[in-house]
Amino acid sequence: MKKFLISAITMIAALASMTPSAQAGTATGNFNVVINFTSACSVTGSLAPTFTYTSGQAALAPAAGVLGYTVTCTTGVPYTMALDGNGTGFTGTFTSPTGSYTNTASTLNYTLTLPAAVAGTGAAQAYSLGGNMAAGQGGKCTTLGGCTFTDAHVLTVTF
């Protein structure tokens, strides 16, 4: 009887000590964030090369006027610059980095040279256009005192 009583008390104590245990779970999942990123380049400036030339002059005439411009491209984006071939007021060809042109009205020949482009940095990158008009050209002008001609060129940045 005594043994039975002890066993009963032990069981009750054991049962009394049992408490439901708290349980926690986690669930995870992957998701993607899609970034559609469009790189871009812009060119700014007031590019306006000017040749002042005297018919038959003995020395080469470098381009003057506004020759500087800037290119701003997305960081890391490589890009190239090119000039046109034939256009309004002129004929010619462009073989990087130099274009050789003839002003149709005056028959004067000249060259335009682009600087080497580097990859974009996100900041404005300064460049300068070069230009030359060879010596010894007669040209054509039917106005007393001189003539002014204008060619409309196109600068293209490809990225």
Binding site: T38, A40, A48, Y53, G56, S106, L108, A152, V154, T158
Partner: protein, 149 residues
């Protein structure tokens, strides 16, 4: 003369390529950025100021192979380019200094007048007018004479 240009560019969207790339990325579980290319372009002016090299525009100088006093020498002058592009003769044999696109005076014989009019020097010669024409420009007319000597 200046003109402003502002060139703003956007990448050419390759929608199909982008979708395919994204689909492949999802399929492969990796991130692939679609390659994109774009162009920016714009115009800028190139100005040429051509100044005549003194004297009249389209001035040409006739020179001959033979000496003064010989007739019939053919001289070809291209007055459109403002320079003598082709002429026969050797400048070294001429009795006067080589002149190009500068004033050159001819001592023309006048009817009823004996002798030359003016002073003869290195920039002058005797001759006979064979042809002449007037050139009408927008704000200026001038007389062009062809002289044989």
């Amino acid at each position: 003369m200046t003109a402003s240009i502002t060139l703003l560019g956007k990448s050419a969207h390759r929608a199909i390529a982008a979708k395919v790339s994204v689909a492949l990325a999802a399929l492969l579980g990796v991130w692939v950025l679609p390659s994109q290319a774009g162009q920016s372009s714009g115009q800028f002016p190139v100005t040429i100021n051509l100044q005549n090299s003194g004297g009249l525009p389209n001035a040409g100088l006739c020179r001959s192979r033979t000496s003064i006093g010989t007739f019939g020498t053919k001289v070809i002058v291209d007055c459109l380019t403002g320079t003598v592009v082709n002429f026969s003769g050797e400048a070294s044999s001429l009795p006067w200094a080589t002149v190009r696109d500068n004033s050159f005076r001819f001592m023309l014989n006048s009817y009823g007048v004996v002798g030359l009019q003016g002073t003869l020097d290195n920039y002058a010669g005797v001759g006979t007018i064979t042809t002449w024409r007037t050139i009408n420009l927008s704000d200026y007319d001038y007389l062009e004479l062809m002289v044989h000597w």
